[in-house]
Amino acid sequence: MKVLTILWFALILFSFITFCYLSVKIIVKGFRELKEMLLNLKEKTIALQKEENLKEK
């Protein structure tokens, strides 16, 4: 029972630390990726609008 208790708490602790570490990592790095993705989309939309305006003229 004692061994099992230690094992279960080791698993809980491991999960908790992993979750904290990975969450911080994906939130920080995900923010950079999100910014890049939105900038790309914005540029793409502006380029498309310009193209459409040229066509209309």
Binding site: L11, I26, E36
Partner: protein, 489 residues
């Protein structure tokens, strides 16, 4: 009321911020194709975050906490099969790599290519039945969670459900699928803070010695050892482990929400990387809420409704302000899950089923106007059905097993069909029909009274699907041998 004014302000703000952010990016995105392109260029971290956000809702916490409350530390073993399945698939590329090489986006597409349209239609029926029954319990369970946390009397459960679904529809309409990535980012930030806070508050308020002692005293060895009384007879014994390993291997390749991440990855290496790292995230997704259930058992005692143990404990131990952040995060997470589930299941029904039937009867292509009309009608019908099912269906046994069994209606046939379809040249359509039919029988038995043990139904379903696939294919190869042309194609 358990929530103070500050909590309500935080809850409303979190929903409004997610909606505004979602609609702000909408103007930069032309249509659904842009969304898919954005999705394909989505980086590794954002992909992982988005997957986690879609796969976590209030219901996830409730079913895991229910297991922890009832089975104690033994239930923690449930976190290991998905962890192993993710690592196995991520490292070996089993099934996934051939599908990526074939440039398949959805599994019905594979069945259509490999076994013909008939099999695709049949898979569509089973997916619709399983998916709708699975989704059908969401509003009722989550409305109970909200009512307990907020202190709204339980008699108003229908009203809570209607409000919840109305917000989801508005949320889907304003944000739309296209802006799901940005809303997921905000939701995950809230969610992760919430998960860390619940675990920390629970440990500090209840104390580890109290948690261990209460489980040992009330549940005995069964609360600590998942293989008690022995590895065969234990509730979480060998049969359960085998079933869960097969189920998760199947789910990770056939559950569209998960599969789309790997099918839309830049290359198989990125897809495999997402899977390998998801293993750790999915481990925490199960272990932490199960531990909350164990803490709830220790804190509120063992004679309460296991399913509502978590919200009862949260309402008691969480300070004001934090409770608002927590509820706001959970509500937002559930909304993204609802939005994607509503859209995906209604599209399976409207396009794969109703659309195909109409096309078959009229022998004409359906106009896009009619298609939109059918989709909307299916969405309305689905919303009405899940409200009705949530109100009148009485759950028996663990919610986790119910959700597993509804998915099992189509998952064993899918795993065996795809697996043998790829790796066995003699696989034929009769085999696919038999695999899906036989694989669906044990999960249907689960819904009858006095059914055999759930684990047995679980692994038995995969065995039957395998027998069906091999038997059906061999029979067809004898009675209808492939022509030389078919062999070449």
């Amino acid at each position: 009321m358990n929530l103070c004014l500050l909590d309500w302000v935080i809850v409303c703000l979190s929903i409004i911020v997610a909606m505004i952010a979602g609609s702000a990016v909408k103007k930069f995105i032309g249509g659904i194709s842009d969304y898919l392109v954005a999705n394909r260029s989505m980086g590794f971290h954002l992909g992982l975050l988005s997957l986690m956000c879609t796969e976590i809702g209030m219901i996830t916490y409730m079913y895991f906490a229910e297991l922890g409350y009832n089975a104690g530390f033994s239930a923690l073993i449930i976190g290991l099969p998905p962890f192993i399945a993710f690592i196995f698939l991520g490292k070996t590329g089993f099934i996934l790599k051939p599908l990526l090489d074939m440039k398949i986006m959805t599994l019905p597409e594979f069945f259509s290519r490999k076994f013909g349209r008939g099999v695709r239609f049949y898979v569509g029926i089973l997916m619709a039945v399983g998916g709708v029954l699975n989704f059908g319990v969401f509003p009722g369970i989550e409305a109970r969670f909200i009512n307990i946390i907020t202190g709204i009397p339980e008699k108003h459960i229908l009203l809570t459900m209607v409000i919840l679904l109305s917000i989801v529809l508005i949320y889907t309409f304003i944000g739309g699928m296209v802006s799901v990535i940005i809303t997921n980012y905000i939701q995950y930030t809230f969610l992760s803070i919430g998960m860390i806070l619940i675990t920390s508050f629970g440990i500090f308020q209840i104390g580890i010695p109290n948690i261990v002692d209460s489980v040992k005293l009330s549940l005995g060895e069964g609360g600590m050892n998942p293989f008690f009384p022995n590895i065969i007879k234990g509730e979480f014994g060998l049969g359960f482990i085998v079933w869960q390993l097969l189920l998760w291997t199947a789910m990770l390749t056939s559950w569209q929400v998960v599969a789309i991440r790997i099918f839309s990855a830049k290359d198989s290496a990125t897809g495999k990387k997402i899977f390998t790292w998801s293993s750790l995230m999915f481990l925490s997704r199960a272990i932490l809420p199960i531990f909350w259930g164990i803490m709830a058992f220790s804190y509120i005692g063992g004679n309460k409704d296991p399913l509502t143990s978590l919200p009862v404990m949260l309402a008691k131990i969480t300070p004001h302000g934090i409770l608002g952040i927590l509820l706001g995060a959970l509500l937002a997470a559930s909304m993204s899950t609802y939005a994607s589930y509503l859209l995906s299941w209604s599209s399976v029904i409207s396009q794969d089923l109703v659309g195909t039937i109409i096309k078959f009867i009229t022998k004409k292509e359906i106009s896009s106007k009619t298609q939109i009309f059918i989709s909307r009608m299916c969405l309305v019908a689905l919303v009405l059905f899940i409200i009705w099912w949530s109100l009148f269906h009485e759950l028996q046994g663990y919610l986790y097993f119910y959700l597993n069994m509804t998915v099992m209606i189509f998952v064993p046939g899918t795993l065996i069909g795809v697996g043998l379809g790829i790796y066995w040249k003699k696989a034929r359509s009769w085999g696919a029909y038999s695999a899906f039919t036989l694989g669906a029988i044990p999960p249907l038995l689960y819904f009858l009274p006095n059914s055999p043990p759930t684990s047995m139904l679980g692994w038995g379903s995969f065995v039957l699907a395998f027998i069906g696939m091999v038997g059906g294919s061999v029979l067809q190869n004898i009675l209808q041998p492939k022509t030389q042309e078919q062999k070449v194609s």
